[in-house]
Structures are given as C-alpha cells and as structure tokens.
Amino acid sequence: MYQSFSSDVLVVGAGLAGERAAVSAAQAGQNVIILSLIPPRRSHSSAAQGGMQASLGNSAMGKGDSPDVHMYDTVKGSDWGCEQDVARMFVNTAPIAVREMSAWGVPWSRVRNEKRMYEGTEIVEDPEKVGLITARNFGGTAKWRTCYTSDGAGHTLLYAMDSVVIKLGITVHDRMEAIELIHDGTRCYGVVARSLRDGSIYVYTAKTTVIATGGFGRLYAASTNAVINDGAGIAMAFNSGVVPLGNMEAIQFHPTGMVPSWILITEGARGEGGHLLDKDGYRFMPDYEPKYMELASRDVVSRRIMQHIRAGHGVDSPYGPHVWLDIRHLGEHRINTYLREISTIARTFAGIDPVKEPIPVRPTQHYTMGGIRTNKDGKVYGLDNLFALGEAACWDLHGFNRLGGNSLAETVVAGRIVGEKIAEFTKHATLEVNSALIEEHVRNVEGRIDQIRSRGKNGENWVEIRKEMQMTLELNVGIFRTAEHLQEAVDKLGNLYERSLNVGLMGDGGQGADPELVNALRLPGMVRMAITIAKGALERKESRGSHFREDYPQRDDQNWLKRTLAYWPEGAKEPDLKYEPVTITEIPPGDRGYGESNVKK
C-alpha cells in the first residue's frame, strides 16, 4: 500500500539549489513537488555564514573585478580540475544571481560611507558606490568578491529563496525521504520515498526528476556539516548502477573547524583580517605563504596548518593538537556586528569570547567537490529525465578544490542555469510509466525494510558500522594520503560493506517512524560511497588540490588531468572506476602561484 503523487517536475532536496531550480520550473508554469528530509529552511544551506562570490566590484578592494578575474581564480583554485565551460557560465551569471536574490529580499551588507583599517592599510570607499552590495575578502581570490549578510549569508539567501517558493505556491513535502529511483536502466520516472512522520511508503512520478540533496560530509568522523548530510540522495543515484559519481576523492578540509565540536568558523573570520597562531602565539602562515598568508586557497592553508602541527608547533589538547584563530585585533564592534553568529558559537560551544581570546581550530572535513556527474546542462550521466545540481552534483565547477564563497554561488547560479534547462526539457517531456516498474521498485524498498526488521537484534549493529566507517575515512583518507593508508581504508571499508548488508535493529522492531530504521536503511549506500572515496584516492597517483598524496606530491597533468567516474554495478563489491578528460577552453594548466608549487616539471 502506498500513496502516489505525480507532477511535471519532482525536486528531491529543498536547499538553495533545489529550491532555485523548482522556482524556474514553476515560473515556466510547470507543476512542481519538492521533497525534503526536514522543513526547507532548516536545510544545510542555512548554515553558510561567509557569503557568495560574484564579481560586482563595488567595494574599494573589489575594484577592477570582472568575470574574467573570477574565472581565473576559480580555475586556479580547482587546480585545473574543473570544467572550464561550466566555470565560464558560472562567473558570467553570478552577478545576476546575487542581484536577483537582492530583489527577492536578501538584506545584503552594503558599501558604507566609512573609512576602515585592514591589515594596516586604510580602505576608502568610492562615494558613488555607497549603498551597493559590498564584498569581503575570501581565500584564493584576487579581489574582494564575497557578498555577505553579516555572517548569515546562507540563512538570508535560503529564507528569501523559500519565500519565493511559498509565494509561487510550490508544493513541499517535508520529512519525506527519497529512497530509490524508479528507472528502467535508461530513463528515470521518479522516486520511491518513505515518510519520516509515520514510515509509510510514497511513490512520486514525474516527467523530470531532480536531485539536489547536498553534500556527504558526515561520512567522516569530524565534519562541519549538518548531521543530515550523509549523502543519501547521492547514494540513491549511485545504487541505480548506471549513474556515475565524479571525483569522489576530492574532499575539502576547511582550515578552521572549532575544536572539539567541529562547528565551522567561517573563512570570513580570516577574510575580515583574522590570523592563525601556533602554540607560541606566533603567526606562522606568512612564513609558508608570503603572498596570500591566511588567505591562500583552503587546501593549501589546511595543509600548512597540519604541516606546522606536525613540526611540533601545535597546541596540545585532549582532542589532539590544534592552532589558534585570532580575531581580537578586529575590535569588539566589527566582531559583534559582522562576525556575530560565530562569536556566539565560540562563546556557547567553546566557552571562548573571541573579543578577548583566540579560538581553537583545526582543519576539518567541510565540502564534497564530487557527486552525481552531470553535463553542463545539469543532466545526469546514465539516465534520461534526471538532473542534479548543488553540492550533490559534480557539475564540475570546483575540480579538486572549491573556493570559499563559490558554493553558495553555485547553488543559485546552477539553480538559474540548470533550472531553465529543466523547464525547457520538461516542456517537451511526457510521462508514461509502466505500473509494473513502479511495483518492482516499491517491492524492492519494502523488501529491504522487511529484511532489516526480520534480522532484528541478530543483524549487524548500524551504530558500530557507521562509526568504524567514519573513523576509517578520518584516519586514512584525510589531508595527507599514502598508498598504504588508502589500501587499508579500501580493505576495511570492503569488510564493513559486507557487514552493512546484514544490518539489523537493536530496538523494538522498526515500526512507524523509528529513527533507527532510517539509519539502518541508509547504511549500505553510505559505505558504498565511502569505499568509492578511498578507491578513487588510492588510484589517483598524483596530488591535485585537496587530494594530496605524500607518495606522489606533484600534480601530474600528463597522466591525471582527468576526472574519475565511479560506477557501482549491481551486486558489485567495489566501484568500477573510469575516467574522462577535463574540459579546458580558456586557461591552460599552469602554476597556482602559492608558496608550495606542485606542478611536475
């Protein structure tokens, strides 16, 4: 027994990316349903603090900025791993997207008619520009380009976006988890979902299905991500056996996760002028990166911190060594106005007042560049009538390292670009779905649930397996990688995968909306993704962006200027890895210009 719904467009995911695409389809007069694990405004997009990049060039320090400069920063940041045709569309559209969000209500911080000291120089704004959307400094950018609302950029963007969703009357079913794609190996017809309110099964069919389920940071033990970011939506596509995931080994570690809760302290804190200090209170970044210092690209800063800690300069703590993030010199007013949310976070979760004390930080898993591989229109490889966007997708704007501020921008820019493609595609699409196919997929899902229930306490314990999986990635597939550790991870995860197929329930039988069943059901898909990360990293015998191999410390364009595509054929124990070339249209591979040059000569 199940309820069914049908629509022109079905969007799985109510974060910024999913909602923006839904808006495009609804504006084109299409009937849209959005599914979400949680109420839309609680999506992880709301947690982004720092801001989004768009080359408006309004602030004095952004003067002379242009899509071309943004393009160069993005490609360089990606260590030449991104799709340059995608990056070009992106940088050209970002200024429009930021203004559109302004028209929809985002109270962007504006250029002020005020002088300000920054790292010892005085910034004087152009009086003509006062009142226009301003920008702050972020890592890896030649100009100040990151538009922000104090430190609540994601929150205000998502609230504005969701207000448009409400205004357009788009249907949202929250507490609804998409579990399996309905497909016949060539085309997607929708999803089988399960209500997190009462455990009942739902069928959603649509002309076009869209996946915008966010990232999968929670595969790691320490992550800045929301607890729901476990990649269930991506696993759903992967499980089809025909959809490949791109560059899963490209995992971003943010330099400043706060010890020990791993809650993020935004890059905006360094953008505003914050420094990194070691155990002696010494500012060490200028020694490693004389030009960019704390604001080299994220992968570089994270590596430098770990390198400095390895050299014995870290501060010891029960949670391992860390360094300090010091923003005291910015002054109470600036901290409490533009870095207010993170000040509250530091006070609440670490008992530290950043006006008076430095904040303990360490590089922490933060973002997943990889995901469901799509073409530049957002169409998913391997299945027709299926699109993906946002952090869940590998549109491939970010290659092997995403720039801070480029991800929020990606959600709304891809939302516009891919959203239009979706609307256009759906106009000509039809929906004729064979009911036997639906039944088959419903039975599949019910079968998986019944098996877990019937194993009960005799099955494997999902809490244990998940913890081991998270620790395995954390310890073996982190910032510094070696063949030995990666092989160990692949072996361990393979073993955990076998166990995950026999997962049971420790509680009283998984009735209704039992939270335990939700987790047990997701587990095998998560372990598959974890193996894919480790395997991709093991095979990639070079260093590029965030993927750093101590045994192959250089970038190797000769052999590795290519993207990993991972497939999980039915019944397989490991992913099948294939590769495809990277699209280079404008900027040939070159040196990133950081203190650590990694190009193989």
Partner: protein, 243 residues
C-alpha cells in the same frame, strides 16, 4: 574529579501507538567534557534506546530544529551545555506544536502556515532586470532588516506564549517579528492597510498580551520586545486610518 552522573527524564509518546500512554522515561549517562544536549541525546539513542525521537540538523544553533523544554525552559537543545544544568535533567517537547513523537514536534508545518498567512515575501510590481544594477540601500537599514531576519523559526517563543497556547491561529512573536521585517524593507511595496489586513487582528498583534515571555526566551536574541512595539504602533495608527 570523577565525571557527574546525569539522569535524564524524557517525555515519551508515539501518536501512532496511543495504547502506550504518555510517560517519562529515565536514562542515566556519564557527563563528558563540553557535553551538549545534542551529544547527550545521541549517546542515549546510540547506546541505550535507538527508538528515541528528536530533531537535530545543524547542531550549531543555526537551523532552529531542536527547540524543546529543558527543565521547563524553552531553548535549543544543541546549544545547551549539560554543565549549565543540574544533574537531573527533564526534557519535554515544545508545547503549542503538533507532537510527532517523544521530543519531536512539527514546527515546519506551523511556520509554513504562518509564512503563508503573513504573506512573507517581497510584494512588488517591479520586474527583475538582469542588466540593471541593484537598488541602493543604506547598510544600517540592511543591518536592521537582518536583525529581524535572524529568527531561525525554532518556535521557542511560540511554545512559551500564553496566547499561542490557547489561540491556535495566533502567529506568535515570531510572526509579528516577520511582518516587521517586511515593513522595514523598502523593497516590499505593501502599504499600511495591506499590512493591517495581515496582522491587525487578534491572531496578530492585537492578540498579544504583552507579557514578554517570548523576548526572554529567544535563543538567538531577536529583539522581540522592540519589534512587537513597532508593529503595534504602526497597526494602531493604521487602525485609526480605517474608515
């Protein structure tokens, strides 16, 4: 010093199983350094009772998922450190919202309904022009709008509000604050009378009895007292202007 033993008394009820009456269940765990209720509740679920229902998303006091009554006080569980509490901790779901089970309540549906009824979006006839520069705005005004927009829809102010607990359609301090956010915003072209239609009634500002339980409760410190006063003032004037 040996760690404290914490005793949790947690409300249990599953609306799908009405035969099991609402009750409180006791759990004992050892306190850890820097422990929050997010950590404690997950420990209880992972190690003692995997059926316990509660909601967390960001675990960083940003998303508004985890409002509950903590020793009788409404707050966010994720930002509450156990060391600030006595060793006996009682947890109840937020009142005024539909109970989904144990500590989980349906704030999402409530807030969507409130957003719809207050028409929480920018009302304008201006078509977005891709080629035009954005409209200018003073940064202080942007900050003022953001101040009201900082509400994370956690529902704590609704849970503690006398009016909201007896009047089902009362939009609460959060709803009135929401309206003030749009009133402040020059991009929203609604006039006084249009706002009056939305909040000038007993389900809006005139239902508020002004006891200010809400302001003391808001975990992110939205200045509700000021926002309520602002809307009350505006709507009282709008009321006079009505024929």
């Amino acid at each position: 010093m040996s760690p404290r033993q914490l005793t949790f008394h947690i409300f249990r009820y599953d609306p799908d199983r009405p035969e099991v009456k609402p009750h409180t269940q006791t759990f004992k765990i050892e306190e850890e350094m820097g422990m929050t209720l997010f950590v404690a509740l997950n420990k209880i679920r992972d190690e003692i009772d995997p059926t316990l229902k509660f909601d967390f998303v960001c675990r960083a006091s940003i998303c508004g998922s985890c409002g509950m009554l903590i020793n009788g006080k409404a707050s966010l569980a994720c930002k509450t450190l156990t060391k600030t509490l006595p060793s006996d901790i009682t947890l109840f779901p937020l009142p005024a919202f539909k109970l989904l089970g144990d500590l989980s309540v349906d704030t999402g549906t409530w807030f969507r309904d409130m957003s719809m009824r207050t028409e929480s979006w920018i009302h304008t006839d201006v078509e977005f022009d891709e080629t035009a520069q954005e409209e200018k705005m003073d940064d202080d005004l942007a900050l003022e709008i953001y101040e009201a927009e900082r509400c994370i829809e956690c529902g704590c102010c609704v849970g503690v509000c006398v009016t909201a607990n007896i009047r089902q359609n009362f939009i609460g301090a959060t709803g009135i604050n929401r309206v003030s956010r749009f009133m402040l915003d020059p991009r929203d072209k609604r006039d006084e009378q249009e706002y009056f239609e939305v909040v000038g009634n007993d389900d809006g500002i005139f239902g508020c009895v002004g006891l200010m339980a809400c302001e003391d409760t808001c975990p992110v410190g939205v200045p509700l007292r000021g926002q309520l006063a602002y809307v009350r003032r505006k709507m009282t004037v709008a009321g006079w202007h009505r024929k």
